[in-house]
């Protein structure tokens, strides 16, 4: 707990590993994806009232991420049952992980936790195949950051 960053982890930093639940009986670790790029998308909450929200957009461009052989992973502090319902409702094609217990621990390790609101920031990380952060971006919490920045970062990995 002692070495938590006070801002978003920067490019060049090794991405902290994590092991978080994706379903009630399955967990996903970052290290499982070593060898391919990973896009980590921290977002504040499952049920946001915006039409075409951030996770739905990533769902639509899932095939483009695949062209870079990249894995996209969503993370919020919502519990796993909320994630299951949200994922089903939006027909998500990728995993969303629950940073629920200890609450926000992974987000804190990435410098992507909003203490005062008790939720994760809207923060994006592109991690290369060796587990090094190559791009990070903090979006205003109410603004869906889109996907152009992620795609550019993935292009720059090559």
């Amino acid at each position: 707990m002692s070495n938590l960053p006070n801002e978003l982890l920067k490019p060049g930093t090794e991405a902290p590993d994590f092991c978080l639940p994706s379903t009630p009986d399955q967990k996903v670790s970052l290290s499982e994806f070593r060898g391919k790029p990973v896009v980590l998308a921290f977002y504040p909450a499952d049920w946001s009232p915006v039409c075409g929200d951030q996770m739905s957009l990533y769902n639509e461009i899932f095939s483009e991420f695949k062209e870079f052989d990249a894995q996209i992973i969503g993370i919020s502090v919502d519990n796993i049952w909320s994630h299951l319902a949200f994922s089903k409702h939006n027909k998500l094609k990728f995993s969303i992980l629950s940073d629920f217990e200890p609450k926000g621990q992974t987000a804190k390790e990435y410098g992507a936790y909003r203490e005062k609101d008790g939720v994760t920031e809207r923060a994006l990380f592109v991690i290369d195949k060796n587990g090094i952060i190559r791009w990070s971006y903090l979006s205003p919490v109410g603004v869906n950051p889109g996907a152009d920045g992620i795609l550019e970062a993935l292009e720059n990995l090559e």
Binding site: G52, E64, K91, S139, P145, G146, D148, L151, E152
Partner: protein, 177 residues
């Protein structure tokens, strides 16, 4: 940064355009025929074109959020199919005015109402004849920072205001000064 980007794909021959060719303002809309917000913006945009008949032309590009809107992709394909029979904008209006009824049979009946060759029209939808164009539109939107619908660009700059006629008008007037 990423959300302030302009239009990545310039308006060209590939696009559906309505309004005068030499208009000083080109308004590009990335939209989804099943999206409630696009449906609300539609009358505002229509009135805007009527208010600035010489100065504004509109380009419509598809941004169907097809996993949350079941009929959005078919509706986009229908507009393209109608376009290839010379009636893109007629179908564009038809779809927005009937955005709660976009099942395949509804689409087919709109084709008939517009006097399209119904065999060709239905086939173009079912066989996704113009899906490459729809995907190109969508990807150009993603690259331009489009993160939801509708998203407008005025002369290539992203518009971040509300979708009411007054707000859009004021933004356009600034470009006309």
């Amino acid at each position: 940064m990423s959300v302030k980007k302009g239009l990545s794909l310039p308006v060209g021959e590939r696009d559906w355009v309505t309004g005068p060719e030499n208009a000083r303002i080109t308004l590009v809309e990335y939209g989804d025929f099943e999206c409630p917000q696009c449906g609300k913006a539609y009358p505002a945009v229509k009135e805007l074109l009527a208010d600035f008949p010489e100065d504004v032309r509109l380009v419509f590009r598809h941004f169907p959020l097809k996993t949350i809107h079941d009929n959005a992709e078919n509706a986009a394909l229908a507009a393209e199919a109608a376009g290839h029979q010379g009636k893109f904008w007629e179908m564009h209006s038809m779809l927005f005015e009937n955005r709660f009824n976009l099942e395949p049979d509804d689409l087919f009946s709109y084709g008939t109402q517009l006097g399209l060759d119904s065999v060709m029209f239905e086939q173009d939808i079912l066989e996704k004849t113009y899906s490459k164009k729809v995907t190109e539109d969508f990807r150009s939107g993603v690259r331009s920072g489009v993160n939801g619908t509708p998203t407008f660009f005025i002369n290539g700059d992203r518009y971040n205001g509300l979708f009411y006629k007054w707000d859009l008008s004021e933004a356009i007037k600034k470009y006309l000064k």
